[in-house]
Symmetry: C2
Subunit: 335 residues, 2 copies
């Protein structure tokens, strides 16, 4: 299984080869593949890979898939798409005949998830772009483009669709410390698609809002709770508070696979704490002094009251989200 | 003239030697010396240096000082301490006899400014520490310690005084992109003084406030307008909005030399825009793709309505600042 290594972009396009499901889990843990929808799809392929490997070796494919599912589910805790995809493949595996046929069924299911994610992103793009006025300046955060999904992008998909529709948008991309997905990946995708954009450090966003230079904020999501609380990249919450203080619409874009009706609210979402090294070192060079303590939560929770709308492939949810999200997620499952 | 090169800290302690006032201006422009009070004191010594050099060469010392003052004043536009110190030395120079005596007068004046700045910082520390309750967790931004001043520090001086008074404080230091003064310098001074502290990326601050983990924010200032609007490191404004949204006191610490009664409000403060390279490169390595546009304002303005108190050496100013600041600045000038 081949993945574009996102930690090496934009300067090198390196393909990481995963020979086992453990390799896939490691690629997810180390951010070689990242983005909530992308890690869901990748985990699905990882389970198919586990089944093929077992079948080749004459081992029990279902047992191998069950073991791999534990490994993959534990790779990162916050994004629900990972668990969602693993659960979906496990259900298929448990209902399938043993052996090579099981592996084929899982590969077909992974491919269906990938295809559905691309279609969902394109629908999100269409629905979201319909909100956007001519000449808007839109601030986005982290990276939600083609590589963060199976293709096209969520929040970035809206930017792309609005640009393709000739809306004359401009984009402000926040660099997104500590891993700099905005500086490395969003800036790169903006250039690739010819969307006018500017890169800022995260701490410039408030100042641009105060100057009236931001018309809308659009971000992705790693998990959306039943009540509309959104876990997303650390710093999203601060942007939502700032947007509210300046009367700027704050929009979340995500497929319904990111909505977790089993999580009642944001307080129930586990927040991954990552290694201090991400903060103390830059480009491999230590910047902070030895011995300083670090807090490095990878995500935060934005409460639903700060969110103007949530754009999914099944429609745009508006407050009160406990009702609108359940209806959209139900419609998507039923479709 | 010898300066500790702040761009090389905390890993190397390199002394930059300035042979001329032009060297001093360059050290200020390139951030080898930074921090509003520190650049004021440094510019004062730079003018004394220009006078000595001219006297040695048998040239007109006053003419040399006038020329150097233009160079130094233009080195950085936002911090008013630079202009304040240059104007103070120019007034002394114009009233002094020509030749070597002029240089001696300027050196004495620069030393007086440095000594007064240390005393001011210690007074700020005492006055500010009196506000702080036992066990408070205080978030600070950028670097306002000994190296950013003639000694002791402004906002950092309050942290230091509270720690020395046994208040049991803990500090959250924001790394402060793009130049990372928090990660490099504040973290280092926290360790040097044994003050318990933790380093975060700037975008974590809002999340810690939402969790109830921040009791107070204390920052420095580069210029304080007559109405209490404060120019400080980019990102300060966002912290002030976040503090207000969470009901957290937001305190500014600065000597009266940072108060500029001639600037009516924040809109009149020039904001320096620095090189894109600071954002696109980390530790000398390019992270953002070639061709992406960048906005890199070095400062922002926090409106007075978001500021709980301004601690100066002459006393603590409370709203309405147009009255309280004028009284304190007048008292300081008269003292």
């Amino acid at each position: 299984m081949r993945l574009v290594d996102q930690t090496r972009l934009p300067h090198e396009t390196v393909v990481a080869v995963c020979a086992t499901a453990a390799d896939v889990a490691s690629a997810i843990r180390t951010l070689r593949v990242r983005g909530a929808p992308a890690i869901g799809v990748t985990a699905a392929y990882g389970l198919a890979l586990a089944a093929y490997r077992a079948a080749e070796a004459g081992a029990d494919a279902l047992a191998a898939v069950e073991a791999a599912s534990g490994l993959l589910r534990a790779a990162r805790p916050t994004a629900v798409n990972l668990r969602w995809a693993v659960d979906r493949l496990l259900a298929v595996a448990r209902g399938a005949p043993r052996g090579a046929a099981l592996a084929e069924r899982l590969l077909a299911e992974a491919e269906a998830i990938a295809a559905a994610d691309v279609a969902a992103n394109q629908a999100i793009g269409r629905l979201g772009a319909a909100m956007i006025g001519h000449g808007e300046c839109i601030l986005t955060y982290c990276h939600t483009g083609g590589l963060a999904t199976a293709g096209y992008g969520t929040a970035f998909g809206i930017l792309r669709a609005a640009h393709e529709a000739g809306r004359g948008i401009r984009v402000v991309a926040c660099e997104t410390r500590p891993v700099l997905q905005g500086a490395r990946l969003t800036a790169w995708e903006l250039l690739q698609h010819g969307i006018p954009g500017v890169l800022i450090t995260d701490n410039v966003a408030g100042s641009l809002m105060a100057r009236g230079e931001v018309d809308r904020v659009i971000v992705g999501a790693d998990r959306i709770a039943r009540n509309g609380d959104v876990a997303n990249k650390i710093g999203t919450y601060a942007l939502a508070v700032l947007a509210r203080a300046h009367g700027i619409p704050f929009v979340v874009a995500a497929p319904t696979s990111t909505v977790d009706l089993a999580t009642p609210d944001g307080a129930a979402i586990p927040i991954e704490e990552r290694d201090a090294h991400e903060v103390t070192h830059l480009a491999g060079v230590r910047v902070a002094p030895e011995g300083i303590a670090v807090r490095n939560p990878a995500f935060d929770v934005t409460p639903h009251r700060l969110i103007t709308a949530i754009v999914t492939e099944a429609g745009v949810a508006a407050p009160p989200y406990d009702r609108s999200l359940a209806a959209l997620a139900g419609a998507a499952v039923g479709s």
